[in-house]
């Protein structure tokens, strides 16, 4: 049986950078202040006028095929469930934070109250009832899609099918094979695959340096 590749796809041509996905996620999942399972970075501005690039880059668990967070976990708390979704079993998490260091995208969160690591669950509590993840359901720009990349009838596949290969991107891949796809055409400019924000929690409001 082929495993599903469920993930979020974000169309950056549509994204207005409103931070609604961050707040939708936090409201739905009761994420503590200072922690974000879904974060909106800003890339740019880079380039010289008039050829400049700036875009909002919503970032969450990329559902990597070879997820380093899973392989480094000493207890098996970081795991893939039966639907292939990368998750954390809080009962088994000993709080060593190896996975947080291993994640190339900085999208794992520390739950200080419970002493364990947390992350985007693709809103399993909703998708198991046939609903959309909170960030997808309420996306103000209709820029977020959820589904199985391998199912041509899924919302993600249908959205991706509208675009050329050159307009479909992944975050920098160090062999971990992120599943999440970003759509961005030359209407916006040049795609930068780096996500190395600076300045801790306020990075959302600050640019990623070229």
């Amino acid at each position: 049986m082929t495993m599903a590749r469920n993930c979020i796809v974000v169309n950056l041509d549509r994204c207005t950078g409103c931070f609604g996905c961050e707040v939708a996620c936090k409201m739905e999942n009761d994420v503590a202040l200072g922690q974000r399972w879904s974060k909106v970075f800003t890339v740019g501005p880079v380039g010289e006028y008039p050829d400049m690039t700036r875009y909002a880059l919503p970032t969450m668990c990329q559902q990597c095929e070879d997820a380093p967070c899973v392989s480094v976990c000493p207890t098996g708390a970081s795991y893939r469930d039966k639907d292939n979704v990368v998750l954390v079993n809080k009962e088994q998490c000993i709080g060593c934070k190896y996975c947080m260091m291993a994640c190339p995208y900085g999208v794992r969160s520390w739950n200080a109250d419970e002493g364990c690591v947390e992350k985007c669950t693709l809103c399993g509590q909703l998708t198991s009832q046939g609903k959309q993840p909170a960030c997808v359901k309420s996306c103000a720009a209709g820029a977020r899609f959820y589904g199985d990349l391998d199912d041509p009838e899924s919302a993600v596949s249908k959205e991706l099918a509208k675009y050329d290969e050159k307009d479909i991107h992944v975050l920098r891949d160090a062999g971990n094979k992120p599943a999440t796809r970003y759509i961005m055409t030359d209407m916006i400019g040049t795609w930068y695959d780096r996500v190395e924000p600076r300045g801790g929690h306020q990075t959302a409001a600050y640019p990623v340096e070229d």
Binding site: R14, T16, E22, A24, S138, A140, G142
Partner: protein, 902 residues
């Protein structure tokens, strides 16, 4: 907030006792409410209500999930044709606003000195009686004009209510900081030059541009002039643009904004204009369109007043009687080149007469230019090069933008944002942009911005009652004769109000009733309040939370409702989106119900004028409602269903799409004459030469009225209002200012609206303090490092921001949005709550003002910057955990304070 977390944190019930004295601010929660640990977790049935957000003016349709009387989840309602299921961060955080521990929960009366921040709870009966008694006493002693009433755009307001309230208590001195500085200039200019009775103008973020919510609109390009829908109308306008851009044919855009916004980043051309020079660029565009003959000549001849001859003596259109022709003084005159003679216009246009748009002709001994000729002369000097020089732009990029806008194969439109409303050239910017659209024939065609689509059967705004005020009373309104554009909204001139409050000039204002988020954050040069409010005897503040204004100025605080506690129908395209109260907390009251109860109490205590507010004959329009039931009936208007039926449907489709999208309404026959209806101007033509602006200044037409007279003909303003846009260099200019070298502009953020929401934990952690954008070259020049605090100073004051060194801002310009720090309200120096990082202590509320509206200067003035290590900055909350004090304290619903009424 999930249900589980709600039970984990427990919920709070109100236990504040009458008479207990408390401070308002970060510690308010503990002193006013306490948790009830005995309350067990319950899991009742979850009900989903269809309602409408009011975290900003976009009114997006949302679904509110309610369990056991508590709102537990907000998500988008896909039935709205505008927001289509989207909600932005502001709306999603609505639960944190609703259950904010610092809600104003009960009427509170000040104890001790003003500014001492000590308050005691009083009953609504006592509060209303106190306000009504003061109103009646002040009216008897000083005249009712000595009471000033104000509102503002942030925080679930209702504009027409406050106007009705002012008129009901017989004061002409009602005002708000938007108005002349936000939306009125764009609306007023369109009413004068285009004349559609239903508000229709170039402001996309005020829910115009209806054709652009349909992806089959033939629009091919848009000019976003000083507007950023991604920030200012996220899930409606921002969404619409995202949908248009995502079409296979896409959407070309030109963005004119000093900031490289995310809309600018998607644009084909970004023009990082110098703030305050929009009119220079408009004149440059106009000249290029005329010189390159890009305008729609036939449309201009038939449907604008460009061919109409102008009388050089009156500056108005030449009339038949003045030309020595057969006809009346209502007949317009054009030049007939074949006959080489003037002829009277036969509406809509004389057959076979190719009336020239340009040129000057001798009529009856006078040299009479056409309206078009005067337009041409007004832009004569504005070459691309001159425009580029004045606006700090690249001439080639201006021309690229013009080629997109005027592409003969495409259909374009201009969206004009609040930026142009915020300095002395507000009316000129609005008229100049309308003229571009008129020249291009971008009017009521598929794909144009200006439309006259079918009106909804319900009303979100009820309209004012200006005929409640006598001539004597209305003539006492601040700025009434000089800034007659304000009469469009029946509002007063703010600097004039402040002169009265501070100096008693020309008479003293003794009482101020205010409803809004924080006047100290949104008023120009807001620290002037420090010397004004001590001279006002009695001040009432109605809002959802304590603000700097409450703590520093108020004597009485009235708690108002959040949008989740409020009812209102909202027209959205061919639907009505219902806002319905899904809960009610503490003793909060919707502002309209507060106002009507005050008026009723005034009447009960013997105020004869107040009684008239409920009399349709005295109002000469719909009178003030007395309760929620009557209010709902007035808003439902012609919608033939009960409030409950309407709420049950939630989103009501009242017309099919094609019935709603009515194009070319001006061409439809007028049943009375059989001729085309034309536009709503006196000439039924688009006034490129806006003589209605001159007439407004001279007489107050078409807006002045009073109890005795309609129209009320007023004496003229000190100078004529100009019929055509003209450029005026900002009073503080980087071209001459050596002490304050940088130009400041403001601009919207997606997670805040006006002065509101700085107390919402999930929003504040995203953007805890305002960024000050500065170009790398300027940063180097002034020693500014990215991410560090800076001092920003103007001739009026000093504040702070956090530097963001970026090429996303024009050189020589800095950008920062309004901000305040609610965490400093109960500090030793509560004024710092508004001073520490608020650009409005820098802005300018002195002359020069816009002649028409009295607009003062919020953008396009001069500042200087330097690195800062001011001690006060350590008190500003930046770390996310600090906002824990403001996390929601869910509370059980309470009964409404006032009877429903039916």
């Amino acid at each position: 907030m999930s249900h589980s977390s709600m039970t984990r944190r427990g919920f709070l019930k109100s236990t504040a006792a009458m008479g207990a004295v408390a401070a308002l601010g970060i510690s308010a929660a503990g002193s006013l409410v306490e948790a009830d640990p005995a309350h067990a977790a319950t899991a009742g049935e979850e009900k989903v209500y269809k309602t409408s957000c009011r975290a900003c003016i976009a009114n997006c349709a949302v679904l509110a999930h309610v369990r056991d009387g508590r709102v537990i989840k907000i998500e988008g309602n896909p039935e709205s044709p505008m927001s289509q299921g989207g909600v932005c961060a502001k709306g999603l955080a609505g639960i944190q606003a609703l259950y904010h521990p610092n809600r104003n929960k009960y009427p509170m009366r000040r104890v001790g000195e003003r500014g001492g921040n000590q308050w005691e709870r009083i009953s609504w009966e006592d509060a209303i009686t106190e306000v009504a008694t003061k109103i009646n006493e002040m009216s008897d002693k000083y005249g009712s004009e000595s009471i000033s009433v104000s509102t503002g755009g942030g925080g679930n307001p209702h504009f027409s209510n406050i106007k009705r309230f002012g008129e009901a208590i017989n004061t002409p001195n009602v005002w708000e900081p938007g108005c002349a500085q936000c939306y009125l200039p764009r609306m007023g200019a369109a009413l004068l030059a285009y004349g559609r009775g239903k508000p229709n103008n170039l402001s996309f973020s005020d829910s115009n541009g209806w054709d652009y919510y349909y992806t089959d609109s033939p629009v091919t390009s848009l000019v976003l002039w000083g507007t950023d829908p991604s920030n200012s109308s996220v899930a409606t306008g921002g969404r619409a643009l995202a949908e248009l851009r995502a079409r296979p044919q896409g959407l070309k855009t030109v963005v004119i904004d000093p900031r490289y916004t995310l809309d600018a980043a998607k644009a084909d051309v970004w023009l990082p204009i110098r703030p305050g020079t929009d009119v220079a660029l408009l004149l440059t565009w106009t000249k290029w369109i005329l010189d390159n003959e890009k305008y729609d000549e036939e449309f201009c001849r038939s449907w604008t007043n460009m061919p109409y001859l102008i009388n050089p003596e009156t500056r108005l259109t030449l009339k038949a009687t003045e030309a020595g022709l057969e006809g009346t003084d209502a007949d317009y005159v054009i030049w007939d080149p074949a006959a080489n003679a003037p002829v009277v216009v036969q509406y809509p246009m004389n057959e076979g007469v190719a009336a020239p748009l340009f040129g000057t002709y001798e009529v009856n001994g006078m040299q009479c230019p056409t309206g078009g000729e005067l337009l041409k002369q007004s832009v004569e000097e504005w070459t691309l090069e001159k425009g580029a020089e004045v606006c700090w732009l690249d001439a080639d990029q201006i021309e690229r933008a013009l080629e997109i806008y005027t592409d003969p194969e495409g259909q374009s439109g201009i969206m004009q944002g609040v930026a142009i409303d915020q300095y002395a050239q507000s009316q000129q910017s609005a008229l100049g942009a309308l003229n571009l659209e008129f020249l291009m024939g971008n009017v009521e065609k598929p794909g144009t911005m200006l439309q006259s689509f079918a009106p909804a059967p319900c009303k979100d705004q009820l309209g004012n009652t200006p005929r409640l005020l006598s001539k004597d009373k209305v003539m006492k309104r601040a700025g009434y004769l000089e800034h007659k554009g304000l009469i469009c909204w029946d509002m007063a001139f703010i600097p004039g109000i402040f002169d009265m409050m501070r100096d008693g000039d020309p008479y003293q204002i003794h009482m101020w009733i205010e409803r809004s988020g924080n006047k100290h954050v949104v008023l120009g040069n807001s620290s002037c309040l420090d010397e004004i409010t001590p001279n006002v005897d009695y001040i009432v503040h109605a809002f959802m939370y304590p603000t700097a204004f409450s703590v520093l100025c108020a004597d009485l605080i009235l708690p108002t409702t959040e949008w989740l506690e409020t009812n209102l129908p909202i027209p959205q395209l061919n639907t009505i989106v219902m806002r319905q109260a899904v809960t009610h907390l503490f003793e909060t009251v919707e502002e309209g119900i507060i106002w009507t109860n005050i008026v009723q109490k005034c009447a009960e205590l013997g105020n004869e004028h107040a009684a008239k507010a409920f009399d349709a004959d005295a109002c000469m329009t719909t009178p003030f409602y007395k309760n929620e039931y009557e209010k709902q009936l007035q808003h439902l208007n012609k919608l033939d269903m009960t409030w409950e039926e309407a709420c049950e449907q939630g989103v009501i489709k009242w017309a099919e799409e094609d019935e709603y999208r009515t194009y070319g309404v001006y061409l439809k026959p007028d049943p009375a004459t059989g001729l085309p209806k034309g536009f709503g101007t006196p000439s039924k033509k688009l006034e490129v030469y806006c003589e209605s602006n001159i007439i407004l200044g001279r007489t107050g037409a078409p807006w002045a009225q009073c109890a005795e007279e309609k129209p009320l003909v007023l004496p003229p303003a000190s100078e004529d209002y100009e019929p055509l846009a003209y450029y005026m260099e900002p009073a503080e200019s980087p071209l001459t200012d050596t002490e304050y070298p940088l130009v400041l502009t403001e601009g919207r953020l997606p997670m805040y609206h006006h002065g509101t929401l700085r107390n919402i934990p999930y929003l504040r952690e995203i953007y805890p303090v305002p960024e000050m954008w500065i170009h790398p070259e300027d940063a180097e020049k002034y020693g500014i490092t990215d991410g560090e605090w800076v001092n920003i100073e103007s001739r009026r004051g000093k504040t702070h921001g956090k530097a963001r060194v970026t090429t996303g801002i024009a050189k020589g310009v800095v950008y920062q949005e309004r901000f305040w720090a609610p965490e400093l309200l109960d500090s030793d120096d509560p004024a710092q709550a508004y001073k520490v990082m608020n650009v409005n202590v820098l802005t300018k509320n002195d002359a020069p003002y816009n002649p028409e509206y009295g607009t003062y200067t919020l953008r396009g003035f001069q500042v200087k910057v330097s690195p800062s290590d001011d001690e006060i900055l350590k008190s500003v909350w930046i770390e996310p955990e600090q906002f824990n004090a403001w996390m929601p304290a869910p509370s059980d619903p309470t009964e409404d304070v006032y009877d429903y009424g039916a």
